[in-house]
Structures are given as structure tokens and as C-alpha cells.
Amino acid sequence: MKINRRSVLQGAAGATWLASWPQLAFGQSRAETLRYVTGNTINTLDTTMPGATRESFGLSMNVYDRLFSFGRKKFGEYWTFDPTVIRGELAKGYTMSPDGLKVTIHLRPDATWHDGTPVTAEDIKWSLDRMVLAKSLAPPQMSTGSITSADQFRIVDPQTLEMTLPKPDRLGLSNLCVCYAIMINSKLAKQHATADDPWAQEWLKTNTAASGAYIIESYKAGESVILRRNEKWVGSADGKLPDFKRIILQTVPEPATRANLIERGDADLSIDLAASDMPTMEQSSKAKVASIPQNNGFTHITMNTTMKPFDNVKVRQAVAAALPYDDMFKAAIFGRGAKLYDGSWKGTPTSSGFPQAMPFKTDVAKAKALLAEAGMPNGFNTTFAISAGQAATAEPMAALVKEALGKVGIQVDIQKKPDAEFNTMESDKKLPFYTDGATAWLPATYYYFYLYFTRDQRWNFASWKNTDIEDLSADARFQTDAAKYETECKKMIEIFAEQVPLVLLWQPNQDAVMAKSIDGYTYQFYRQADFRDLKRV
């Protein structure tokens, strides 16, 4: 492409003709508006409904309030969420009984719903009840915090509620911070409830009864949402209103187009861009990149422990030794992430954190030896499945896996499957060998092991059944002794590293590309931008 002066001039002239912003002056209101472009759609305004997209969660966080919210901590010039800090959002604060069984929730007296009516304890009780009673995705999530029944919530007085837990669950309070724990204007919602639908689930799919920082001005499902700042919002950490008065969320499926938009200054923020675009973006004069590892997630290669030959631990170890970690890290995500391999420890890990770098390295000789030990010196044939939605990173990875395993005699057939098919087969445990990603909203080591490595359920990727892990994770959950908890966690990690139900690869960075003027970007556990934190400087 040759660009000379003339074409630039023509371009400039053309720009005034074609790309004019017809209605809105570029001045004040543009500065106060944040234009956010995403790849996916917002499909529901009620996050507890099945099928809610990540973008829906992101919107809900800005529109609804929860009682509590996680804190945030600095990560370079940006921020990342901090699950160890829990602050009040719609609640002013809480007090926990010494035995950890009783949480007293203090409401904010000045909090109002978007329609101007005050937030009452009845509203909160109704919302909490809905969380555990209505048929939705919320109850199973809440159960991970031992919140299972409406009886656990009690109105103490108009400004106070009480939540009782049957056991001192480590994640009881944390669960009130997640995307499902939205607080709803019960008076408004009840007006739209029916006998069949006592929790107004149908109505709340496309309407809101919220108190959050932003109010929905227009909602075009699958296209765009426009938000307006709630001038009466009281839920912030510092008591201030968010900086942006207006937010425009738009669905732009092509990552390349989203990148173009930011680079040309037409949009302010976007996440989930192609890793390959990042080096260019980082050199751009108009855009900057916040590259923050997704510290509550991991990308993995799973071997189904119930399927031959992966039921043999030697085979799993052999595969783990044969994988071309560095090449995959470079080629698939261009090195943009935190490695979860190449760990320097042996035997027992030094840290109880999870996910952490595992002591896996590429060692072809060892892989061959292990295969021989497993009785398969000539390798075997298998398939390696990837989902079409993740093809951008998974496809190069798969090609490398195929090549590397081929060197130790394992013949791999790559199967790229449409997302729905992939998910179904993964859920039905029919995939022997595949790659996927996982993120946990509540990143506690025991929670990872409980969620991903126990029980016959969807998220036990490798269908791994290990009684030690089951016992340890169950005990760690209610363990009040911090030192003991630490030991239990390390033990679980040790078993995991030895048994290799799945190979941890890395935590990919979440690359948020934004205009140079945007500040305050925070990586959140639900992997979406929180507009309340952002400002233009």
C-alpha cells in the first residue's frame, strides 16, 4: 500500500465527507462518554439466567449493586481485583461473628433504586431469597458458600439483615460479591411477577430493577447498550460517582475491526482482541494496552483419566513431558501470559497458591521412557479436540502438540469442533484429549480443587477421581486453621503435579486495549471491564 501526500489529502477530504459525526459535537459529551466494543453480545439483563454471556455479567456489575464487592490492588499502572478484601457496596458493611457462622449486614440508609424509591431490608431479603429459591444458575453457585436456604436470611431491623451459615464457609461472604448476587428492587419486580413466575424472571431478562452506578438508557439485544450514570449512586468505595456520564457498549464481532476502532480513536476500550494484534497496538500512538494475566484462570491440556490410554498415569506423565511448552507459549499466545509450567520446585510446592507454575518441562527422552514404562514404547493414536471459538490460540497449539507428540510416537488427529459440540462432548466426558480454558470467580486453592478436580460433574475436565483430593478439599473448605489450610493446599497441589490429570499451560493475559486517555482499568474476576473504575485523564 503506497500512501503519498495526495492520497492523504484526499483521505482527509473524504473523512469530512464520509466519517463525519453528524449529530454530536466532539466536545464535552464525547469526553464524558466511554465507547466500549466487545466481541460478544449481551443476551440478558438477569445474569442468573442460563446462557448469560460474559458481557452480560459485565453489564450487570455496572447496573446492579451487590451487597459486597471485592477490593482491587495495583498491577503496574493498572489494577487487578483482590478477593481477599471485601467491602460494602449496597451494604455499608458487615460484622462477622467470631465462629464465622453469623454475618450481620448493615445497609446504607441513603441508598435508592433507580426509580428513586429507598432500598429497604425487605428488598434485600427478597433478592437474597430469589438467589437461593428461584430456578436459575444462582443456587448451585451459592451452595459453594454454604448458602442454600432462605431461612439463612433474617431481617433484623429496617437497616440490618443477618445471614447464618451452617459451617464457617471460607467463601460464604465472597459469594455475595459474585455476578449472581444482584440486589433487586422487589416492589418493582413483584409488579411483574406472575403465579408461574413469582420471581419475575421473564420480565427481568429485558428490564432492570436495580440500584447500580449506571442506568440503562437503551438496550438492543445483540447490538448495543447505552448507559447513563446514576447520579444518586452511593455504592462506590470512595463515595464518589464514576467518571463517565455515558457508556456505549457495542458488539463488534471481528477482533481486527475492534482493534482498528481503538487505534483510530473511534472507540475507547476493548478486550478479547487477538494476541497477534497486541505488539502493533503497543506501538500505537493513540492506544495503549493493559496486559494483565488472568490470575483466576488457567489454560490447560486435559487427558481424560477414565479413557484409555490416559487412565495410565505414566502415559499422562509422558504426555506432560513431551509437550512443547515454550513453542506453544510463543506461537499460540505470543508469550502474552504467565507460564504455569517450568516450575522450579520438586515434590512439595513452596506456595499454596493455585494455579501456580508446575514443574513440567519438555523432556522427550523422559517422555519416551515413561511411555515405555507404560507398555507403549511405540506410542498410540489419539485425537486432540479444540473448540472453534478458541481456534485462534488453540489451533496453532494443536498443530504443535501433534508435531511434538508425533516425535514420541503418539499419533494425534486434530479435531476442531463447533463450540456447542465441543462443550457437549466435554460435558459428556467423551473427549479423550483436548484443550480448554477455565476461570474461577472465587480464586481460592481449595475452590479450584473442589470445582475442577472432584466429583462427577461438568467442570471436572479430566474426570479425575482421587479420594485424597476429595478429602483434602472438603476439609480445607471449612478449615479455620490457616496453617493447616496451607498444608492441605500444598498437599493437593503435590498430588496434582504427580498425577497430571491435566497439564497446566499458562494464564493468558487479558489484553485490554484502550485510548491513551483512559485510566483506572481493572482486571475483574468476571473478565469484563468495570466502568465504575474508569476515567478519562
Binding site: T280, D326, A388, D413, K416
Partner: protein, 288 residues
């Protein structure tokens, strides 16, 4: 010189005459021939193993070692393009061949016999035609699984109605020709009239359609690849290479998309121009 030889030379002369007056077709014929040769001898023409990765040299621009640069995994793009020629041509030729054979026979019988068979097949064709064709192909591949044979089947299915209609119409205009009735008077059954008389006569006209369709089938496969329903990695295929390379357009790594795109484009171009040329050769109106 025997009469048959006269016939041959006169056909050859006619073709030559058309080609002389139509350099574009001449170039297209040469190009197509070259393409077929490349496809046949692909394994001998690739300087590198088209699926061997070399992450250390990933995303290298074209140079003396890698004429078309390397891709994300450091694979030689030129080798991949050459290797893909074979696969793409195979997909296109089989898919089009399949729909041609089925379509010509079914359409031929419908056009010749008419009646109930024709009506039912007509219904079936109507149903197929009413589908948004690309979406039908997508759905078929999604339902059957994205393997090469299913891509071929899907491409064949969405081409089928055109062949049926085309063969039907062409046979229909000829079914009352004297030589058809003469064949029957000479003791041919309907079956043999269609298979031995009508279809061979329809063939030249269909050759145009086939040629145009070959290009279209390649594009179709590329489109399927773009939305993630193409052949499985790491098999080199132009559509996938273009779709993957498209991700790198904005980063200035043009060679990832440009070279496979060029191969794809030239192939489709050759097939299309050849089809046009064939039409000229076969269309009596052009014989002035």
C-alpha cells in the same frame, strides 16, 4: 488423413481459433493446466515440510529461504500453498464432480421423462433452492462434523439443484429432437436414450457450469474455513490460511494473507475465465 483425423484437426483448429482471438482464455487454460500439475506434483515441489513448525522463525517476512515468508508457527507459507493446491483442487473437483454426476443423471431423467418423477424432484430442488445455500452448507458441515468428506458433501449438495435444473432444461429442449426419436426407433430404451444420447450431448454445455463451479466450490470451502468449519489443522488449505492470515492484516504481516489469497484468487480466476472461454468455444453464436 482419415476422416476422424480431419474431425480432430478441425476441432483443434476451432479451439485454436478461439484461443487466438481470446488471449485471456488461453492464459486461463495455461494457468489451469499449471495448477493441475502443481497439485499432482505438490509433494515434489515443496521446499519444506508444509506442516513442520519452527517457532523460532515464526512470522518471518518473505526472503530467499522462505519465498512467501512463514506463518505463526514458523511453517513455510510457500510450501503450504503448494500442498494446499492439491487439497483444494481435490475438494473442488470431487464436490463438483459429485453434484455433476448426480445432478446430470437425475436432471436428465426428469427433463426427459417429465411427469411424476419430475414433479417430485422439482419439489426437492425447490426445497434446496429455498435454503440460503451457504447457511445450508454450514449447517450440513456442522451437523456431519467438519471433515473433508463432509465439506465435499455439503458443497456438492448446495450445487446439486443447479445441476439438476441445468441438465433438466438442456435435456428437455433436446428430448423431442429427431435423433432422440430416431434412437428409440432404432430400439433404444428410454434409459439408454438418456444415458447414451442425451447426457453426452448436454455435457459440453455443462462443462461451462462445471468450470465456473469449481472456482465457486473453492470459495465455498474457504468461507466455511473462515467461520471455523473448514478442514482440520494442521492440514494446509487456502481458505484457512487466508482466514488465519486475515487476523494479521492490521499488524502489517501481509504475507500471511496475501500469498494464499493470491493462490486462491488466481485459481478461482482461472476457473472462471476458463468457463467463459469454454462458453465461447461451445456457443455457436460466438462462431462467426
Amino acid at each position: 488423413m482419415s476422416a476422424a483425423a480431419i474431425q480432430r484437426t478441425s476441432t483443434a483448429r476451432h479451439v485454436l481459433f478461439i484461443l487466438r482471438g481470446n488471449p485471456v482464455t488461453a492464459i486461463a487454460s495455461l494457468g489451469t493446466a499449471l495448477l493441475v500439475l502443481i497439485a499432482i506434483f505438490a509433494p515434489f515441489l515443496t521446499p519444506y515440510d508444509p506442516i513442520a513448525s519452527d517457532v523460532a522463525h515464526a512470522l518471518a517476512p518473505p526472503d530467499a529461504a522462505h519465498w512467501a515468508g512463514t506463518d505463526q508457527l514458523g511453517r513455510d507459507i510457500f510450501s503450504r500453498i503448494v500442498a494446499a493446491a492439491r487439497l483444494d483442487l481435490f475438494i473442488a473437483v470431487t464436490a463438483v464432480g459429485l453434484s455433476f454426476v448426480v445432478g446430470a443423471v437425475v436432471g436428465g431423467f426428469c427433463g426427459y421423462r417429465g411427469g411424476r418423477l419430475d414433479r417430485w424432484v422439482g419439489r426437492f430442488v425447490d426445497v434446496l433452492m429455498a435454503f440460503p445455500l451457504f447457511v445450508l452448507a454450514m449447517a450440513l458441515v456442522a451437523a456431519l462434523g467438519n471433515r473433508m468428506e463432509n465439506i465435499i458433501i455439503a458443497t456438492a449438495v448446495i450445487n446439486l439443484p443447479f445441476y439438476i435444473r441445468f441438465a433438466r432444461a438442456e435435456v428437455n429442449v433436446r428430448r423431442n429432437a429427431g435423433w432422440v426419436e430416431a434412437a428409440r426407433a432404432c430400439g433404444d430404451s428410454h434409459l439408454s436414450v438418456v444415458l447414451r444420447f442425451l447426457l453426452p450431448n448436454v455435457l459440453p454445455a455443462m462443462a461451462v457450469q462445471i468450470s465456473l463451479n469449481l472456482g465457486w466450490a473453492i470459495l465455498n470451502a474457504a468461507g466455511l474455513s473462515f467461520i471455523g468449519l473448514g478442514v482440520q489443522a494442521p492440514t494446509p488449505e487456502w481458505g484457512i490460511m487466508v482466514a488465519e492470515g486475515a487476523r494479521f492484516i492490521t499488524t502489517g504481516k501481509w504475507w500471511l494473507v496475501a500469498f494464499p489469497g493470491l493462490a486462491l484468487m488466481l485459481t478461482v480466476l482461472f476457473f472462471n475465465l476458463l468457463g467463459d472461454g469454454l462458453r465461447d468455444i461451445l456457443d455457436p453464436r460466438m462462431r462467426t
